[in-house]
């Protein structure tokens, strides 16, 4: 029964596909040392930043793109891409009133409140448009608590010592091809510092928006939670519909000190391409957290519904004794989308624990791979990991793959791995239909049920959005 629905693939509605016409300061396409220098200059960066970028660039030149993922896409011509594009502003905006109204309009259309009285009161937002941050809300209130929440470029100016101390300490530019590229050319992103014993008084979030054509987006996020602090952070992403693929290569670094906790949630809705697989974002990101301190905790929750290709493995290095790492993921691929995503849990400290719960949903011709590594180092006594991977297939032409890597060098470790693949059952579907549900509603309900445990990990306001997003992303997967 399902097969028949899925056969009739139609264009799904991507409601964020509009383009904003805005004056921008845009580089010529191409990448060279001069471009790296020019970006650093535009940002008025201190010398340590420039030197770091140049080293990263030199290293990148020696690398080639990774080929081990279960993904197929044409080679990317890095000389055809634009590495810097920023909406023109006279000077950095000091308040929202100085932000170009067209930008505010854009975020309003996306349903993202930049006005502090906004719908999601109690959530501070940093909005990144193409390569630069355009507005950060609730700064004063956060400042009172001692929390630093700003665009990355601003942090480089106002807190260079923190940036210099922590930048690249979790994801080195030597880590991989895209991380090196990002280090060389990243233009903005978010910076968060939570001081000792502070519980961040509100959710922090960043909305990334790609607007300009042929532009790569390279942001970098750095979050540091000092001893006994707590922060919950959410990122959202959208882009216009374009026929060409666009590269998004971000890096996120998280650092949790003693007893600190970072909860990082992503609702990724980059343009996925059309029903035939034309266009869409290549989302090649490196996200990693380090539980540096004792009893620290880092949780990643991701809802990945967008992008033509997702290559992403939010990981946790469990260095501190008794630290905890968690990874909760829903990845949905419809039409011709491909996702190769998962996590790495590296157990170094004693009594460290990690939990992995991954839900993959494939429809249309979508290909969904879970790739996960659990590594227990010799000194990591009593490490525990529980991994559960579940895949749901919504038709005969899609695929689900599970690739777990387990490396254990300490015999006290306890590692559990469960993997299941199921089809959305004709029985389940008919049961719902016979109770009066339409096919679309029935499938949305079953898929939402499948993802329930992950949605439960999201901050309340976003769980509802994620649920709706999933429904929109499934549109067209049923007839």
């Amino acid at each position: 029964m399902t097969n028949q629905y899925v056969k009739e693939l139609v264009n799904k509605n991507y409601e964020h596909g509009f383009v904003t016409t805005i004056d921008s300061d845009t580089f010529e396409p191409g990448l060279s040392e001069a471009v790296v220098r020019a970006i650093s200059k535009r940002k008025n960066e201190p010398d340590f930043m420039l030197q770091w970028r140049l080293k990263a660039y030199q290293h990148w030149l020696t690398l080639s793109p990774p080929e081990w993922a279960h993904l197929t896409y044409p080679a990317i011509d890095y000389q055809k891409m634009i590495y810097y594009s920023a909406p023109k502003v006279k000077k950095g905006p000091n308040s929202l009133d100085e932000v170009d109204p067209k930008l505010l309009e854009t975020y309003k259309k996306l349903g993202i409140p930049l006005h502090e009285q906004g719908r999601l009161a109690g959530v501070a937002v940093d909005a990144v448009f193409d390569s630069v941050s355009v507005a950060t809300t609730f700064k004063a209130k956060l400042g009172e608590a001692g929390v630093i929440f700003s665009s990355f470029s601003e942090a480089v100016q106002t807190h260079p010592e923190l940036v210099e101390k922590y930048l690249g300490t979790v994801v080195s530019f030597r880590d991989n091809f895209f991380a090196a590229l990002n280090a060389a050319v990243f233009s903005d992103g978010s910076f968060v510092y939570i001081p000792r014993a502070v519980r961040c008084p509100m959710e922090l979030s960043t909305y990334f928006r790609i607007n300009a054509a042929n532009t790569g987006q390279f942001e970098r996020t750095l979050i540091i939670a000092d001893d006994q602090s707590y922060v919950s952070y959410l990122e959202g992403c959208t882009a216009p519909m374009r026929d060409e693929n666009q590269l998004h290569a971000a890096v996120v670094e998280l650092i949790a000190m003693d007893n600190a906790e970072i909860k990082y949630s992503t609702v990724q809705n980059w343009y996925p391409g059309d029903a035939e697989g034309r266009g869409g974002i290549f989302n090649f990101v490196t996200k990693r957290g380090q539980c540096r301190g004792k009893k620290s905790k880092i949780s990643w929750t991701q809802i990945e519904t967008g992008s033509a290709i997702t290559w992403k493995y939010p990981s946790v290095i469990l260095k501190g004794d008794e630290s905890v790492g968690e990874f909760y993921s829903v990845a949905l691929t419809n039409n011709h989308q491909q996702a190769d995503t998962g996590t790495k849990m590296i157990h170094i400290g004693k009594n460290t624990r990690s939990t992995i719960l991954s839900k993959g949903i494939s429809a249309g011709f979508g290909q969904n791979t879970y790739r996960g590594l659990v590594r227990v180092l010799p000194q990591a006594d009593n490490a525990r990991n529980h991994t559960q991977c579940e895949s749901l297939l919504l038709g005969p032409t899609c695929g689900a793959h599970t690739v777990p890597y387990i490396e254990v060098k300490n015999c006290t470790a306890q590692i559990e791995h469960e993997a299941t693949t199921s089809k959305i059952g004709d029985d389940q579907l008919f049961y719902c239909l016979s109770r009066g549900f339409s096919k679309e509603n029935a499938i949305a309900m079953i898929v939402n049920g499948f993802c329930k445990r992950i949605f439960n990990e999201l901050p309340m306001e976003f769980a509802v959005e994620a649920q709706k997003l999933l429904e929109v992303s499934l549109e067209g997967s049923v007839g």
Partner: protein, 256 residues
């Protein structure tokens, strides 16, 4: 209420071989009547129930199904539900992560919408649900669990009857609602079915056992063998079957 004329149904198996399951079913059920369908395993009872509820995957090669005079063969299952048809499943499926209460509320409100009734709000729904759940003696805790997930066999069956009482269908088809029930549960389920009985509603019960029919006394009993109704009669027919099996009807007991 329901008229089935010369219904022939076949399926294609994995090798694309055609297998005919129903071979000319004729059945008329008037408003207010309760009919029981009995018959050996594999005779086509569940197939008939599924076809009535509109399940895809069956080829209806001949015949008509009239619900209140309207031929529903081409009608989508959700439309049939909206027209008051309800199927209690022989094997109710689990829907992980979907809250039982949410499921039922959404189902009820989609039916109400179809009848231009305003949706029930959470409070009214809860009140109604608590009243009906008592009537089937089902544990209230089951409302807050996922649909049928981890329910015992008996709990699943009670949940079907609970759904039926909530949705108040005009034609309820109950496929082996009595199988797997303990004696107390059978009483409760039967009581639930009797609550639904009204002059404007009809009930079709597929069953293998007399004991359900002692509690919910049918107006007509049919015997289905090999995709045909070979005998119909009053409630006494069920006693006869219980006593003698199907052999005396000229049926080879070994066919399945």
């Amino acid at each position: 209420m329901l008229v089935i004329k010369n219904l022939h149904v076949s399926v294609r198996d994995k090798k694309q071989d055609v297998k005919t399951i129903l071979q000319g079913i004729n059945l008329t059920i008037k408003a207010g009547e309760v009919h029981a369908i009995m018959g050996p395993n594999g005779s086509g009872k569940s197939t008939l129930a599924n076809v009535l509820a509109g399940r895809e995957g069956y080829d209806i090669t001949q015949g008509e199904i009239l619900l209140n005079g309207e031929n529903i063969i081409e009608m989508l299952p959700e439309m049939r539900a909206a027209k008051g048809l309800f199927l209690a499943f022989q094997y109710p499926v689990e829907i992980p992560g979907v809250n039982n209460m949410y499921f039922l509320k959404a189902a009820l409100n989609s039916l109400r919408k179809h009848h231009d009734l305003p949706p029930l709000d959470a409070m009214d729904f809860l009140k109604l649900a608590k009243k009906k759940i008592k009537e089937v003696g089902m544990d209230e805790q089951l409302l807050s669990r996922a649909v049928n997930e981890g329910f015992s066999g008996g709990e699943k069956k009670r949940n079907e009857i609970f759904q039926m009482l909530m949705l108040e269908p005009t034609l309820a088809i109950l496929d082996e609602i009595d199988s797997g029930l303990d004696i107390d549960a059978l009483q409760k389920v039967a009581a639930g079915i009797n609550l639904l009985r009204r002059p404007d509603r009809s009930i079709v019960m597929v069953t293998h056992y007399q004991r359900l029919l002692n509690e919910v006394v049918p107006d007509v009993v049919h015997v289905m063998v090999n995709g045909k109704i070979i005998k119909s009669g009053g409630k006494e027919l069920a006693f006869e079957l219980e006593e003698k099996g199907y052999g005396w009807l000229g049926v080879d007991e070994n066919i399945t």
